[in-house]
């Protein structure tokens, strides 16, 4: 297999792994936040803010990985 094909394959597999990791993380945050809001509806606003921040942090890490996958394709 030529090296370009291997790079494309690696980028595709990497992107898939990134999606798995990020979706597990964000879904856990979403589930935990929903449960917490269900228990204490009056703390909803504060919980939503912390949820978005945690999701953004995970997303940041996921984007680092996605950018590396993108670099593999563009190189």
């Amino acid at each position: 297999m030529e090296s370009l094909a291997i790079a494309y394959l690696a980028a595709a597999i990497g992107a898939g792994l990134v999606v798995i990791g990020a979706s597990i993380g964000i879904s856990r945050i979403g589930a935990a936040a929903l449960e917490a809001i269900g228990r204490q509806p009056e703390a909803g606003g504060q919980l939503r803010t912390s949820m978005i921040i945690a999701a953004a942090l995970i997303e940041g890490v996921a984007f680092f990985a996605a950018a590396i996958c993108l670099l593999l394709v563009l190189k």
């Binding site: 504060q46 803010t49 978005i52 921040i53 953004a56 997303e59 940041g60 984007f63 680092f64 950018a67």
Partner: protein, 332 residues
């Protein structure tokens, strides 16, 4: 769904049947995705959508300052030439030392700045006239809502000293509104997203770096800022903690840069790739799926434009609050 997949296979069969057509077809296909990245990149001219409006000045620093008013005058001077959309020296084919050209994204950034200045100058005049009274007019009300939201929901919960909150709110309001306007300019038809360029997000993060550390040094003193490098651990752990904490100082703005850049670029790449699939498969049937899905993604990007402006401001506020800590000098 099954019908459309049949159709894809059909068009693939067609293209493999005749080799002459195949190569032309393949080249056209490659162009679609090549053009996506060319469209997302920066240009040395002012474009609205794909339409070239006017040339922009090219400024190069390479053994002195070279200023050209358009690309054609740069080419006719003979010192620099263009290879694969990038400017290189004619003599040895190397890139110039520093490229300070006014590019498309810079112009869109200027549009955002002028828009914000015009709107807020107008509002601040009105507010001055009606000091201590409710704001008059639609824009003034919207602006007051945004400013109060940034102060009360983003800055105040993270920085526990009202005096510091009041003196730093102007920075957070400016950052929030600037990122929001630039993001939304990129979603208007014909617009280009200036936040999908590393230099812009990088300079925003650089300002954030100075705000985070400047606020810490100003309000809790240089001594406690140095103490912060220990991370609250005993002095014996300094060889481990100090490098980590110094690294953290620079990772924060770096992750701010990458997060905003990647979020704003990713949405565009996804939408353009989906629309590119239409040209790739050359069929109308897919449009029934792809066009509604692109509209959905566009709305998602509109949401992301707001969320990213919020997240950037929020994270800078959290970092500032952390770096100020709870040992603020007594006069504050």
């Amino acid at each position: 769904m099954s019908f459309s997949i049949d159709n894809i296979k059909h068009s693939e069969d067609l293209s493999t049947n005749s080799s002459a057509v195949d190569t032309v077809h393949k080249e056209a296909n490659a162009d679609v995705f090549g053009e996506i990245f060319a469209t997302l990149g920066d240009h040395n001219g002012f474009y609205i959508g794909p339409h070239h409006v006017c040339d922009l000045p090219i400024v190069l620093v390479d053994n002195g300052l070279h200023v050209y008013f358009s690309k054609s005058s740069m080419l006719s001077s003979g010192l620099f030439t263009e290879v694969d959309h990038s400017i290189v020296r004619t003599s040895d084919g190397q890139a110039p030392a520093l490229d300070l050209s006014v590019t498309n994204l810079v112009v869109f950034q200027w549009i955002a700045i002028v828009f914000i200045l015009l709107v807020f100058r107008n509002i601040s005049k009105k507010k001055k006239l009606a000091y201590n009274k409710p704001p008059k007019g639609f824009l003034a009300n919207v602006a007051e809502k945004i400013i109060l939201y940034v102060r009360d929901e983003i800055v105040a919960p993270n920085i526990p000293y009202p005096k510091i909150v009041n003196s730093l709110t102007f920075y957070f309001v400016a950052t929030f509104i600037f990122i929001l306007v630039v993001n939304i300019l990129g979603l208007l038809p014909g617009g280009h997203t200036a936040t999908s360029a590393i230099p812009l997000t990088g300079s925003l993060a650089l300002i954030a770096f100075f705000v985070i550390n400047g606020a810490a040094i100003k309000y809790s003193g240089i001594k406690s800022w140095f103490k912060h490098l220990l991370g609250g651990a005993p002095v014996g752990l300094a060889p481990i903690m100090v490098p980590i904490e110094i690294l953290t100082l620079f990772i924060k703005p770096f992750s701010l840069t990458i997060r905003l850049f990647a979020n704003m670029t990713a949405g565009h790449i996804i939408i353009l790739s989906f629309l590119g699939l239409l040209f790739f498969f050359n069929t109308y049937v897919l449009a029934t799926i792809i066009v509604p899905f692109s509209v959905f993604l566009y709305l998602l990007e509109l949401l992301v434009a707001f969320i990213q402006a919020f997240v950037f401001t929020m994270l800078v506020a959290i970092y500032t609050g952390q770096s100020i800590g709870d040992h603020v000098r007594s006069e504050h």
